[in-house]
C-alpha cells in the first residue's frame, strides 16, 4: 500500500512539473547577454527617444536617401492634375511586366482581382464591395491617376506608398495599364 502511495506521489509531481511548462512565456536562455542585442533592434522600445520606441519618422523637411519627393497633393485637384499630366519615368526597356504581376497579385489582386475586373477574393467573399473594373468608363484611369491612387489611396482604398517603393509603384502602374488594355479588348 505504501509503494502505491509513493508511485501516486511521483506521478503527481511529474504531472505538475510538466504542466508548469507554459507556451505563453519564452524559454530560459543560456547567456542572455549574448542573445540580446546591444544595438537598437527593429521596433524595440527605447528611452533614448522621446517617443519611447526605436522606429522614428524622418525629420521634417528632409528626404530619406534614395527617395524622390512626390509633389502632387493628395486632393481631388492633385488627382486630376496627375491624371492629365503625370507619366511613367520607366521606358519600355525598364518595364518588367512579370515583376509588375508578382507585386500586383500580392497587393492589388486581393481586391481588384488578378484580371483587374474588380472581382478579387475579398470581393467574391463579400468582405469589401464596390471595387470598380479598370475599364470603368467613368473613371477612365491613366498612368498618372493610377500612380496617384497607389501613392495616396482613394476613397476607401488606402495608400500603398509604404509597401511599394517608387520603382515598384511604376511597375505596378504599367501592369495595371496592361490589364486595362486586355479588359478593353
Amino acid at each position: 500500500m505504501k509503494g502505491l502511495f509513493k508511485i501516486v506521489v511521483i506521478a503527481l509531481v511529474l504531472v505538475v512539473v510538466v504542466s508548469c511548462k507554459k507556451d505563453t512565456k519564452p524559454n530560459y536562455q543560456f547567456m542572455p547577454n549574448m542573445y540580446e542585442p546591444v544595438s537598437y533592434e527593429t521596433y524595440m522600445e527605447s528611452d533614448a527617444f522621446r517617443s519611447g520606441w526605436e522606429a522614428q519618422l524622418p525629420a521634417e523637411g528632409t528626404v530619406p536617401r534614395g527617395f524622390t519627393p512626390f509633389d502632387i497633393a493628395n486632393t481631388t485637384e492633385g488627382y486630376n492634375f496627375a491624371k492629365d499630366s503625370l507619366s511613367s519615368p520607366l521606358d519600355s526597356t525598364k518595364v518588367d511586366l512579370a515583376r509588375g504581376k508578382e507585386l500586383y497579385d500580392i497587393y492589388c489582386g486581393i481586391c481588384h482581382g488578378n484580371k483587374g475586373d474588380g472581382q478579387g477574393t475579398l470581393v467574391k467573399r463579400e468582405k469589401i464591395l464596390g471595387i470598380p473594373s479598370y475599364d470603368d468608363v467613368g473613371r477612365a484611369i491613366t498612368a498618372g491617376s493610377i500612380y496617384h491612387t497607389i501613392y495616396y489611396g482613394k476613397n476607401a482604398m488606402g495608400s500603398y506608398a509604404n509597401q511599394l517603393n517608387e520603382e515598384e509603384r511604376w511597375q505596378v502602374t504599367a501592369y495595371v495599364l496592361d490589364l486595362k488594355a486586355k479588359l478593353e479588348k
Partner: protein
C-alpha cells in the same frame, strides 16, 4: 413586392405606420393599386427591381456608400425619399448627380456644394454608363427597409456542438475505463481475501517464510549494483542533456498578443498573401510587423466580422471587439469616418527571435531563394493564434542548407556562381551548403 414598394415610395413611412397593422398587407395592396391607377404614367419610369439594384449597388456604389452607415460618402438608405422630403430634390437631380456630380456642383446647386464640402471635397466618380433603368433599380434597393437580423451562427453553433460532443464522448470513454480498472482492482483484492479465508478454514499455513529482505539481497549482489548505477547514470545523463538542449529553444512559443489577430481568417480563409502585410520581408532583413495603416487598408471598410466568421470558441462580439481595439490604437472614429489623430502603439509580442550572434536576412530567403514563408513558419494560414513552428536552432538551419537544392533556373542572382561551382563539384544541382551556406562567417560575424 413591387407594389408594396411603390406605396412606400409615394407615401412616406409615416403613412405606413398609421395603417392598421391587422390589415396591413391588404391595405398596402389596395393603396398601391389606387396609386398605380392614379399615377400609372409617371410611375412606369420609376419601377425598379431591388434584386438587380443590389448587384448594381455592390458593383458601382458600395466602394464609397453603405446603406446604413456613413463611409466615404453618406449612408444611402431611403435616399430618394429623404432628398425629396428634406431638400425637395427629385429623381432627375439624383440621376444628374450620379452621372456627373462635378457638373451639378459647377451649376451652382446649393445642396450639391453643401454635400461636397461636408464630405471633405471627395468628388463622386461620374457614372455616365448607368441608364435610367439602372438608377431606378438602385434606388429601389436603397428604398428597402432594414432587413430583420438573421438568426446568426447557425453553422458555428453546429460545429461547436459537434466538437463538444466529441469532447464529452472522449471524457466518457476515459471515465468508463477508469471505473473499469477500479472495479478490477477491487475484484482482485476481494479474490485474495476470499482465498486467504479459504486457506485459514482449511488450516493451510500461508505465513511467508522470512528470508533475507530484497534490498539486502540487492546490496550483496555487486554486479547488480554496478549495472543499476550505470543505468541510473545514463538515464540521468539523458534527461539532463535533454533539458539543457531545449534551453533557449522557443519552439511552440505562443504568447498572448495585445490584439487577437487570427492568421487563419486573414491568410487562410481570405487568402491574403503573407507579403501583403509583411511587405518588408521582400526587401529587408526583417519581415516587418505591418504598421496599422496596412490594417486600415481593409478595416476602413470592414468594421465587423461576418456572422459566419464566428466560431464556437470565438464569438462575433469577440472579433468585433478586437477590430474596435485596432480603431482605438490607430485613432479611427468609425462613426464619423475620420482619424482623430490620437494614436497609441500596439505592443505586439515578438515570437521568432534569433540570438544576437546569428545573422538572418529575410529578403535573401524570400526574394533571392524564393522560399515559401511556410517552410520555416509552418502552416500559419491555419493558426488562430500564432506560434513558433520551427526550433530555429543552428542544426535546423544547417539541415535545410544541406538538403535544399538552390533553384538557379531563371535566377539572375546565381547565374555566374552556379556555372563556376557546378564545374568545381561536377554536379548539376547545387545545395545551399555547396554555395557556402555552411561557412561560419555567413551567419556569425
Amino acid at each position: 413586392m413591387k407594389k408594396s414598394y411603390q406605396s412606400l415610395e409615394v407615401n412616406s413611412t409615416n403613412n405606413m405606420k398609421q395603417v392598421n397593422h391587422r390589415k396591413l398587407g391588404k391595405n398596402i395592396l389596395r393603396l398601391s393599386l389606387i396609386i398605380l391607377l392614379a399615377f400609372s404614367t409617371s410611375l412606369s419610369a420609376q419601377e425598379g427591381d431591388p434584386a438587380k439594384g443590389k448587384s448594381l449597388f455592390n458593383a458601382n456604389c458600395a466602394a464609397c456608400h453603405k446603406l446604413d452607415k456613413k463611409m466615404t460618402g453618406p449612408a444611402l438608405r431611403k435616399v430618394e425619399q429623404r432628398l425629396s422630403d428634406e431638400q425637395g430634390l427629385d429623381r432627375e437631380w439624383i440621376a444628374a448627380w450620379i452621372r456627373n456630380s462635378a457638373a451639378v456642383i459647377k451649376s451652382g446647386d446649393a445642396y450639391a456644394s453643401k454635400i461636397y464640402d461636408e464630405y471633405g471635397g471627395a468628388a463622386m466618380t461620374a457614372m455616365p454608363q448607368l441608364t435610367d433603368e439602372d438608377i431606378s433599380h438602385i434606388l429601389a434597393y436603397t428604398a428597402e427597409d432594414v432587413p430583420e437580423p438573421v438568426v446568426a451562427q447557425v453553422t458555428g453553433g453546429q460545429d461547436g456542438s459537434g466538437n463538444q460532443e466529441g469532447g464529452i464522448s472522449n471524457k466518457m470513454i476515459l471515465g468508463a475505463l477508469a471505473v473499469l480498472f477500479a472495479l478490477l482492482a477491487m475484484a482482485l483484492v476481494l479474490v485474495r481475501q476470499t482465498l486467504n479465508r479459504f486457506a485459514e478454514a482449511k488450516g493451510v499455513d500461508i505465513s511467508e517464510t522470512k528470508g533475507t529482505p530484497i534490498w539486502k539481497a540487492f546490496v550483496q549482489n555487486q554486479f547488480l549494483v554496478l549495472v543499476t548505477a550505470i543505468f541510473l547514470l545514463l538515464a540521468s545523463g539523458y534527461f539532463v542533456y535533454g533539458y539543457l538542449m531545449q534551453v533557449g529553444v522557443d519552439q511552440g512559443y505562443q504568447p498572448v498578443q495585445p490584439i487577437h489577430y487570427s492568421h487563419k481568417i486573414h491568410a487562410g480563409d481570405n487568402g491574403i498573401d503573407c507579403k501583403y502585410c509583411h511587405s518588408s520581408a521582400r526587401v529587408s532583413k526583417t519581415s516587418g510587423i505591418p504598421s496599422l495603416n496596412v490594417c486600415m487598408n481593409c478595416h476602413k471598410s470592414i468594421y465587423e466580422v461576418a456572422p459566419e466568421t464566428a466560431t464556437a470558441e470565438y464569438s462575433k462580439e469577440f472579433y468585433d471587439g478586437e477590430i474596435k481595439k485596432l480603431y482605438a490604437a490607430v485613432g479611427w472614429d468609425d462613426a464619423e469616418q475620420k482619424y482623430t489623430g490620437e494614436t497609441q502603439p500596439v505592443k505586439w509580442v515578438r515570437i521568432h527571435n534569433l540570438p544576437d550572434f546569428a545573422y538572418f536576412n529575410h529578403s535573401q530567403h524570400v526574394s533571392v531563394a524564393g522560399i515559401e514563408c511556410q517552410t520555416c513558419h509552418g502552416p500559419v494560414e491555419e493558426m488562430e493564434i500564432m506560434y513558433q513552428h520551427a526550433p530555429l536552432t543552428m542544426g535546423w538551419c544547417i539541415n535545410c542548407h544541406r538538403e535544399t537544392n538552390v533553384n538557379v533556373k531563371d535566377n539572375a542572382y546565381y547565374e555566374k556562381i552556379h556555372a563556376e561551382l557546378s564545374k568545381k563539384y561536377g554536379v548539376d544541382q547545387l545545395t545551399a551548403a555547396q554555395m557556402g551556406g555552411l561557412e561560419c562567417g555567413k551567419c556569425h560575424y
